[in-house]
């Protein structure tokens, strides 16, 4: 039982799960679930009560039962009491103060990660302002490697997302060429296929692999299909760099995606066995996003941000190469407008980083959300200042297959320019070598197609097709 007296009213919260939900900054998904605070005053009362909760309490009271949820078991069983010891005496409020202090430097935060649970970091994020979320995250780098090194200080990487409504290889190639010329693609060249057949996915993987070899560009490929499809592709010799999977923060939500921890382990092991990385062997590409557990009716009455943080515990168990919160994709019934999307993106990023997860963000919105490109500009710049590992690069920010808006190749260039950020070092060296970027980090404005790219275009006989 938790209580706060505020403005002459006593607010009572029966358990930790309820307290966390009531303390969450306003968002439509929690209102849809019927667990949000009923008033602004109740929300602040919950935050005041939450600030007084000892962090140890989160080790004693699970928000989703241990007995029936393998994600809870993963969180509890993998908790490292030694790593937790430096903050074991703190409350949630004291933890916020410590995170903002100079004592919480990069080294201290890295050492702390195995001692943190998703519920602890979700709790502290709920009593942080957006500025706090940016400042704390900026102190914590999570660096991963495959053929490029992603997440280093002073770097901002981009997933090149060349989707096409019919998976037309020439149409996808066109977007890949455009993106590489504009300096995107150092995190991954990742296609959401329109069709899900294994044969289609194999063709797309082979196409990216051919482009990568022809241009000698240091990057990795991913076709974002179900992990069981990817495992099958690996078994039949397809050139799989990064297996993809959407993950969530409860066992039931993961089952609705057709996965469990065992399947993720199988995919991770299979891809690592191929040893296709050159500078590192992290392989998994996970996507997450607030609201997915509620959408699957598998949230156990836990608020959507806390459930989302639990998905990062799933992610970190597999030392992934990339994790991406697709923050505004789910729609206004979970994140209503630009303000809610902004807040959620910053929360997701800092919670993941504190847990040791290499977080990137699809800074995005759908056309039925109260949001526009101006909102995305603010989130993108805030995340870049917070040290986000990667963002999306799309032609003109417009995904013509999935029907939503993200960030453009130009947005990535502009953000790198504003904050003095560079691409991943291996990719930067390539851009310099092929003359697409100058020493100052500017991408050449020329529209001429370099010879190596020109040779990728369809042969004259195919041009009529």
């Amino acid at each position: 039982m938790f209580r706060t007296d505020l403005g002459g009213t006593r607010y009572v919260f029966p358990d930790l799960k309820t307290l966390l939900a009531k303390a969450t900054p306003k968002r439509s998904g929690d209102e849809l679930a019927g667990i949000a605070a009923a008033s602004r005053a109740e929300r602040v009362a919950a935050q005041i009560a939450l600030a007084d909760v000892p962090l140890r309490r989160f080790l004693d009271e699970a928000v989703v039962p241990y007995e029936t949820d393998e994600v809870t078991r993963l969180i509890v069983d993998s908790h490292d009491p030694e790593a937790f010891r430096p903050i074991a005496h703190l409350t949630v409020g004291g933890f916020r103060d410590w995170l903002l202090s100079d004592a919480a430097d990069a080294e201290a935060l890295a050492a702390l990660a195995p001692g943190l649970t998703p519920e602890m970091v979700a709790a502290v994020s709920k009593i942080c302002r957006n500025q706090d979320l940016i400042l704390i995250a900026a102190k914590r780098r999570v660096v991963t490697r495959f053929r490029t090194t992603v997440g280093l200080p002073g770097r901002l990487s981009a997933r090149l997302q060349p989707n096409h409504p019919t998976d037309d290889p020439a149409g996808i190639l066109a977007s890949i060429v455009d993106g590489l010329l504009l300096g995107s693609g150092d995190a991954v060249i990742g296609i959401n296929p329109a069709g899900d057949s294994p044969e289609r996915c194999r063709e797309l993987l082979m196409m990216i692999d051919d482009i990568r070899r022809a241009l000698d560009v240091p990057t990795q490929s991913c076709v974002l299909t179900h992990i069981t499809t990817t495992i099958g592709l690996i078994e039949t010799g397809a050139p799989v760099d990064l297996p993809f999977q959407s993950i969530a923060g409860t066992e039931a939500a993961n089952r609705s995606f057709g996965i469990d921890l065992a399947i993720l382990k199988e995919g991770n092991d299979a891809a690592r066995s191929l040893k296709r990385g050159t500078v590192g062997d992290e392989v998994m590409y996970f996507e997450t996003g607030q609201g997915s557990a509620l959408s699957a009716n598998a949230h156990h009455g836990v608020d959507q941000q806390t459930v989302e943080a639990r998905a990062y515990a799933v992610a970190r168990a597999f030392s992934p190469f990339l994790v991406n919160t697709v923050v505004g994709f789910i729609g206004p019934e979970y994140l209503y407008d630009g303000k809610q999307i902004l807040r959620a993106g910053l929360e997701d990023h800092v919670c993941a980083k504190l847990l040791g997860v290499p977080m990137g963000c699809d800074v995005c919105y759908t056309n039925h959300a109260e949001a526009d490109q101006d909102d995305m500009d603010v989130l993108l710049l805030s995340l870049a200042a917070a040290g986000v590992n990667f963002v999306m690069g799309l032609p003109g920010a417009d995904d013509i297959m999935l029907g939503y808006q993200s960030t453009s190749f130009h947005d990535v260039m502009a953000t790198r320019s504003m904050l003095g950020l560079k691409p991943a070092p291996e990719f930067e060296a390539w851009l310099l070598k092929v003359g697409l970027m100058d020493e100052a980090g500017r991408i050449a404005p020329s529209t001429a197609l370099p010879d190596a790219f020109r040779r990728l275009l369809p042969a004259p006989s195919e041009r009529a097709a």
């Binding site: 409504p165 039925h368 032609p395 003109g396 013509i400 939503y404």
Partner: protein, 273 residues
């Protein structure tokens, strides 16, 4: 060295005679916004404003109100009876934030349908504004009138067409169940993309009843002149409806093979959920 230059020369020489813009080649294969004009690192003014215009069109489509009278008038003129009903969502904001209300019937609508419970049609076609009332306003009357004509010609019993402004797909389950329909076909405005503000979708569900999920339906999406043309959609929906009634199922167990002949001829596949 000279020999290497010789090897490359004929190619560029040919380009000089017949200029071939590689960007034109690339742009011909995708509607993605590639090859945009640049202003420094940013997108140049014309392309920036073109994006803004597309987003404005999509937003206007989402926020547009369904002209219920025009739609029912067009359907009645085509010999299709209609019944205007309400869902639990009474305005756009509620509709967007509360999917549960958009899936439930307003009590008055439920009472109205109770009177029609004895109809037991083979096929009930319902029209919802969904996320693009603009798309429904443009295309639904023609598509629905065509479908009703085809169903009648096939000897199937149809019902008065329910029209609901703020309905979600699963509302068709509640309506179909109350009508005692063997099959419900929901025509609904799709979430607009920047290149598809007027797209509508069709969801076919056998033995509709409250509690079904999308795994129990078949879908024909991106119905619009520049996507899947209306006559093509009419053919596919008709195929799905006939197969659903024959096999007595829809959803993951019913694979859309209506396009096998087309696929063999090289036509692109269509998203079927």
């Amino acid at each position: 060295m000279p020999s290497a230059a010789c090897c490359r020369r004929p190619r560029s020489a040919r380009h000089e005679r017949r200029p071939l813009d590689p960007w034109a080649l690339l742009k011909a294969r995708t509607v993605a916004r590639i090859g945009l004009g640049r202003a420094g690192a940013s997108i140049a003014t014309a392309d920036h404003l073109a994006f803004q215009a597309a987003h404005a069109a999509a937003r206007d489509a989402v926020l547009s109100r369904l002209d219920v009278e025009a739609l029912t008038g067009a359907l009645e003129a085509a010999g299709v009876a209609t019944t205007v009903l309400a869902s639990g969502a009474t305005d756009r904001t509620t509709y967007l934030a509360r999917p549960d209300l958009g899936r439930s019937l307003d009590p008055a609508a439920a009472a109205a349908l109770a009177g029609a419970a004895g109809e037991r049609p083979d096929v009930a076609v319902a029209v919802f504004g969904g996320l693009s009332a603009a798309g429904i306003g443009l295309h639904a009357a023609e598509l629905v009138a065509g479908l009703i004509t085809d169903f009648r010609a096939a000897g199937l019993k149809t019902a008065s067409v329910p029209v609901v402004e703020f309905g979600r797909v699963a509302l068709g389950d509640a309506i179909g169940e109350r009508l005692g329909a063997r099959l419900v076909v929901v025509i609904v405005g799709e979430r607009p993309g920047l290149t598809s503000a007027d797209a509508i979708g069709a969801y076919v569900t056998f033995r509709p009843r409250v509690g079904l999920t999308d795994a129990d339906r078949n879908c024909v999406s991106n119905i619009r002149p520049a996507g899947m043309p209306l006559d093509e959609a009419r053919r596919r929906i008709g195929w799905l409806a006939r197969e659903a009634l024959r096999l007595e199922l829809t959803g993951t167990g019913l694979k859309d093979r209506s396009d096998e002949a087309l696929l063999a001829a090289g036509a692109p596949p269509t998203a079927i959920a």
